[in-house]
């Protein structure tokens, strides 16, 4: 380093280096969509014999997939977020893991990272605390203009959700408009400055500021579109698009406007009255909190800013996943073989700070596994009283389950006891298929046709996985998939991948950022 700043602690750890990007708090996310991989079921039963049509095993429940969006600066796909899982279920053996992190180019809402979390079925969704380098954040101007010290979060519509909703700026005016039914009419709305009774649009501000809008409607709004036209702090004409969906709420523009020229409303809802209150932030760029420390690299990009809550770590380590979720799928003596994971690997980390129910962890999932189970049955019999017909059948059922590696933080029980991150697996998908062979003959045919037994030889030797691989593919093609890719979820025979590889985990505390 020839210039800049580097700060170390007495362990020689580098805490701040102006040459490198530090991760800062970028928002607290709740999920926008919840889905599950549907079970892949295709049961073919013989005309007689074992005709049970049971579907998936009771112990084969796929976990919930929770999806989150983190909006970022356009094109900032080089910097995936560090998404810490803050579990909302701290009792029981609930595992969760980040199974996908994909950058999405969205020309309407803006670019975002789509983050999927797999969690064991039917528990409260975790909250994600996300961190980004400053240069990847949605807002260039991180200085909070609204009296708090947090950067604004964004919901799935790209609406700003400031941490501090107590507006501290100046309210200019309020007005109500009646919007038509099922039209795309553009509505103009003029606000007036009450003191001078002059129109405020277009309105010039002394400093570039973020616009503030409060709204309330007589019915729930469905994607009411609000276009705000103006000139931003760089002197560029800008149109900022916002959608609102609730009956009431507030939002702030992402742009810092120094002139507001027009506000347009486009509505497709039934006719109703919407009341708006308009204002602007009390502070503008650079007029936020003046206390703190910032660093810049040689390109004059900000790499650290104490006002944006830099990432603090209270513990770290490496985790691997066990070889298999359980040593084998439970017995198939019934139609409910047990696929519930029972192999765990514990990793300890001594924490510098902790508070039970406040901890969160970051460790993307890379491991996955497959377990399978087969049930074979065969038999014979006859039907008909006077001229009986004899039959033989063989049936084979095949279950498989596909897992992804997931984790949980064990409850802290004492100050001396190190925290434990436990690796295991959660079920992502799976299925159950069954096929059979069957033949029947009259009494004389049964006596004279040796082929009667030979036909069943196919099954008495086992249908075998090769046949079921094909069967699974056919089922998948006909199956509906809700928000996940169609697939067999059966990539290989019983085994696992990526399980022996160290994956770094980091632990922090949610309360640092609330």
């Amino acid at each position: 380093m020839t210039y800049g700043i580097q700060i170390k602690n007495n362990d020689n750890d580098i805490l701040i280096d102006s040459n490198f990007d530090h991760y800062h708090y970028a928002g607290k996310l709740t999920y926008y969509e919840k889905t599950r991989v549907p079970g892949i079921v295709d049961i073919k039963i013989p005309p007689r014999g074992q005709r049970d049509t049971t579907g998936m095993s009771a112990y084969q429940q796929p976990g919930d997939i929770f999806k989150y969006k983190l909006f970022v600066k356009s094109g900032a796909d080089d910097f995936p977020p560090m998404a810490f899982i803050n579990p909302q279920t701290t009792t029981g053996n609930v595992f969760a893991g980040i199974i996908k992190t994909t950058f999405i180019n969205d020309y309407t809402l803006g670019d975002y990272w789509d983050i999927w979390v797999l969690q064991d079925y039917n528990h409260i969704a975790p909250i994600l605390y996300c961190f980004l380098p400053i240069k990847a954040m949605k807002e260039d101007y991180i200085t909070d203009a609204f009296g708090g010290y947090n950067v604004s979060g964004l919901n799935e519509q790209g609406e700003s959700i400031p941490q501090d909703l107590n507006f501290s700026g100046e309210i200019l005016d309020s007005a109500s408009i009646d919007v038509g039914e099922n039209t795309l009419t553009v509505f103009g709305l003029s606000f007036y400055d009450e003191s001078s009774n002059t129109p405020i649009l277009p309105y010039t501000l002394n400093y570039p500021r973020r616009l503030y809008l409060e709204f309330s409607a007589s019915n729930t709004l469905n994607n009411l579109l609000i276009n705000i036209d103006g000139v931003n702090d760089l002197g560029v004409n800008k149109t900022e698009i916002n959608y609102v969906n609730n009956t009431n709420g507030v939002f702030y523009t992402q742009e810092y406007f120094k002139e507001i020229t027009r506000i347009r409303f486009t509505n497709v809802n039934p006719a109703q009255t919407i009341t708006f209150k308009i204002g602007y932030s009390s502070n503008s760029i650079g007029f936020g909190d003046r206390y703190g420390i910032s660093t810049f690299n040689s390109d004059n990009q900000k790499t650290y800013d104490s006002r944006i809550k830099p990432l603090k770590i209270v513990g770290a380590g490496n985790a691997v996943s066990g070889n298999l979720p359980r040593n084998s799928a439970g017995s198939a003596s019934s139609f409910n073989p047990d696929f519930r994971p029972n192999n765990y690997v514990e990793h300890t980390a001594t924490l510098s700070s902790y508070q039970q129910n406040d901890m969160m962890y970051f460790i993307p999932s890379i491991s996955h596994a497959v377990l399978e189970q087969t049930r074979y049955q065969s038999g014979d019999g006859s039907y008909g009283s006077y001229f009986p017909t004899f039959y033989k059948y063989a049936r084979e059922d095949f279950w498989w389950t596909f897992y992804r590696g997931t984790y949980r933080l064990n409850d802290h029980t004492s100050t001396e006891h190190p925290y434990i991150l436990t690796s295991s697996f959660s079920i992502l998908g799976g299925g159950h298929v069954a096929d059979y062979d069957y033949d029947e003959a009259s009494l004389l045919e049964a006596i004279f046709l040796t082929a009667f037994g030979a036909i069943l030889g196919l099954l008495t030797g086992g249908i075998g996985a090769a046949i079921f691989f094909g069967a699974v593919g056919l089922v998948v093609a006909a199956n509906g998939f809700q928000g996940v890719s169609a697939g067999t979820y059966f990539p290989y025979r019983q085994g696992s991948r990526n399980t022996g590889q160290n994956q770094t985990f980091l632990i922090s505390r949610a309360s640092y950022y609330d």
């Binding site: 700060i7 170390k8 602690n9 007495n10 020689n12 750890d13 580098i14 805490l15 701040i16 280096d17 040459n19 490198f20 990007d21 991760y23 080089d78 910097f79 995936p80 560090m82 199974i99 996908k100 992190t101 994909t102 999927w116 380098p133 010290y149 909190d289 206390y291 703190g292 420390i293 104490s306 809550k309 830099p310 990432l311 603090k312 770590i313 209270v314 770290a316 510098s352 460790i363 993307p364 890379i366 996955h368 596909f402 992502l428 998908g429 996940v484 890719s485 169609a486 697939g487 067999t488 979820y489 059966f490 990539p491 290989y492 991948r497 990526n498 590889q501 994956q503 770094t504 980091l506």
Partner: protein, 96 residues
């Protein structure tokens, strides 16, 4: 705190101090599917860690290996375990 530094906001809330632990981003690297690749110029710090993201969805039609990673001085080598079934792997290197 007898020595070190603290950074506070205007409300006197402690934002960061030399008693905190953290990691700084040293670099991000995308290892392409089914390819072994080396990246040079990885910055060094006394302690370095890396983590990997799967950036594609696993639907069970692919064995979905991730790259194994070794970090030696300023060279990061991402090795594809399979020439046909290794996914794109996003690697993040942190230091302190």
């Amino acid at each position: 705190m007898a020595y070190g530094f603290e950074v506070r906001d205007s409300g006197n809330n402690l934002m960061f101090s030399s008693e905190d632990s953290t990691f700084t981003l040293l670099g991000t690297y995308l290892a392409p599917a089914n390819t072994t690749v080396s990246f040079v110029g990885v910055p060094t710090m006394p302690t370095r860690i890396f983590t990997r993201h799967m950036i594609a969805e696993t639907n069970g039609d692919n064995e979905a290996y991730v790259h194994t990673v070794t970090l030696n001085n300023n060279i990061l080598t991402a090795t594809a375990p399979s020439s046909t079934d290794t996914f794109d792997t996003f690697i993040m290197v942190f230091g302190k």
